[in-house]
């Protein structure tokens, strides 16, 4: 295939494939990095590598599986660079998480759908707290102040909710047999 020129068919294909795999790639990186901000960051870097290598991609193969290997190396690299100041998982653990996560991702959609149903069963104040927290993660202190509560109390309440929701999601998904 010719070089990756901006208007070549391959760049269109690249965009559609990367778009389609975006959610799963993020889900793949999350389990190695532990949070969404780092996962977004690493996926951004990995996307550039994936683009550079795209000429070698065989369109008859699964794009996500192919792209995930670049994402994995980018995650490893990211941790190495950040190692001095940050807490991170070692390479052995990363390897194992990556291997097991690939088949596990088949359950991702069902989990996302189940969680939405769980949120619907949650009361209004609970939903409000979840929304505030996930939209403005850093501002739990400000939120506590607005509600006249201690930040730790609010954080504890939030974590109790997360636990409750995680249990509900599990209940709604684990009983499914096969697909």
């Amino acid at each position: 295939m010719a070089e990756n020129a901006p208007d070549s068919p391959s760049s269109e294909q690249f965009i559609t494939l990367l778009n389609a795999a975006h959610g799963r790639l993020l889900g793949f990186l999350r389990v190695m990095l532990g949070n969404s901000a780092d996962a977004e960051d690493v996926l951004q870097r990995a996307s550039m590598t994936i683009w550079r290598k795209f000429g070698e991609f065989d369109p008859s193969k699964d794009f996500f599986t192919w792209a995930s290997s670049f994402a994995f190396y980018e995650a490893k690299n990211f941790q190495r660079v950040a190692a001095r100041s940050r807490l991170h998982f070692d390479d052995d653990l990363l390897q194992r998480l990556a291997e097991e996560r690939l088949p596990d991702l088949d359950q991702r959609e069902a989990r996302l759908a189940a969680m939405d149903r769980c949120l619907e069963e949650l009361d209004a104040p609970g939903r409000e707290l979840v929304r505030e927290f996930y939209l403005n993660k850093t501002e739990i202190a400000a939120l506590a102040e607005r509600q006249g509560r201690a930040p730790q109390t609010l954080y504890n309440k939030l974590n109790a909710l997360r636990r409750l929701l995680a249990d509900c999601m599990k209940r709604k998904t684990t009983q499914e047999a096969g697909s």
Binding site: Q13, R52, E109, R117, E121, T173
Partner: protein
Amino acid sequence: MNPELNFQEWHRLFTAKADGTITPEEHQRLAALLKDSAEARREWFAFQDAEAALLAWSQREALRREEGVDVALATNDYAGAQSSRHGWLRYVGTLAAGIVIGLAAWALWPETSSSLSPADNRIAARDEATTSSVAMLSRGVNLEWDKSVAAPALNAPLPPGLLRLKSGVAEIEFFQGARLCVEGPAEIRLISAGAAYCQYGKFSAHVPPPARGFKLSTPKGDIVDLGTDFGLDLNDQSPELHVFKGEVELHQPKVEMRKLTTGTAAGLENPGSNRLLVANAAAFVFSHDLDARVSASRREAFDHWQQINEQRNADPDLRVHLDFQDPDGARSLHNAASHGEAIAAGTIVGCNWTEGRWPGKRALQFHSVSDRVRLNLPGEYRQFTIAAWVQLHSLNARQDQSSICMSQGLEVGDVHWQVIHTGALCLGIVAEAHPHVTDDYISPVVFTPDRFGQWVHLAATFDIAAKEVRFYVNGELLSRHTLKRPIVPKPAVAELGNWLPASDYAGSHPVRNFVGCMDDFSFYARALSADEMHQLAQ
């Protein structure tokens, strides 16, 4: 150790890691735990998906509250994705050149979500709106695909990859505009919106000016179209290229490129040869009578449907069959089930009459938030099957679910069959009324934007004796779910395409309207078998 305590401690470590509040000592414990326990790893994966779901939901919530956002945002953006593609391409071009690398460029990426500020949460709606397709199967006659490779449905979007047509004529429309008729037996690999590789078969291409540069590769060389009609016969001992109109470039290994113009043809076997033949349109007649053959086969399909309908309607367990063949302007849908005397006709509220799967087949279009068909399904059902032919037009970004058929209210035994905003199907049976708890069974994703506009047969079976719920799509089993509790369903008053929390409800309630068409609905008092389901979706 108490396993419950275990989970509690795990969850505490997980959230601390996710929120960045974890201490070095805790981090060590978390890493050791994940190394040693496969169960902890599974929990960790589920936890991360839960976090992703909470983030995505929060972004959608914010989107819902934001005034002035178009209700049909997700679908509009999908449609816009085609036209704005070149904007992204420019971005990728720069990226490839290595000129702009960094967060600023990343912010242009259409799908970035969590790193953006809440004000930019329009982005969240795009998460569902992706496609990897490059073409669609627009028409076909007597199609027989090699199912071990792929068997696309009519109007199905086609991703890059191999197709092997055993017999029949398929018309493929590439997103860039070229239209390719393929006569089986043929093998073709779709490469992009403007290119394909033909191994063998007979092909006839129409390439309008916007699709100039459409490229068909073959084992004997590449054909680049400069805006024409041409035919390609790879079945013959000596493969030939025929140009009916316009101009085509023929690139073959080791020889100079040749240009063929209107009325000429060339053999591909001897690349050096300059011998030109006269184009023979008669050899590619399969592409010209396609219109007539398609109409004939659609008439046949409709006749066939009418015939088997009589047989179907006689099924003693069939309680409701709405075939939507009611006269123009009708405000109710008659129940065609022979044994459904006890069940009255469905009442149409709003909705428009339109054409269904074939000419002559009638359908109702659901569009506004008030459109619905009201129906009474008395009785208790320890097993049932619910099925419908639907054409979904979009999923609303601000709406969690779209009703296919939902019992009015939230009483124990109420049946809620709907499409979730992710595109998955959900069958819910209300298990507790106050406070309300629904046992939900959620299928894998069915409706990606690729499926919008296609007629799809959806069905769900519920069976207390077998302790199972099943979902079927187009007659094929999609997923099986173990019954959570043996609640006996009592659908009672229900609505197609919408939902009312109660008959006298006056407050505001969540919007559940379905956006699309329906041309058949049935309800059986038994769980149909996989074979029966296959028949039903024919």
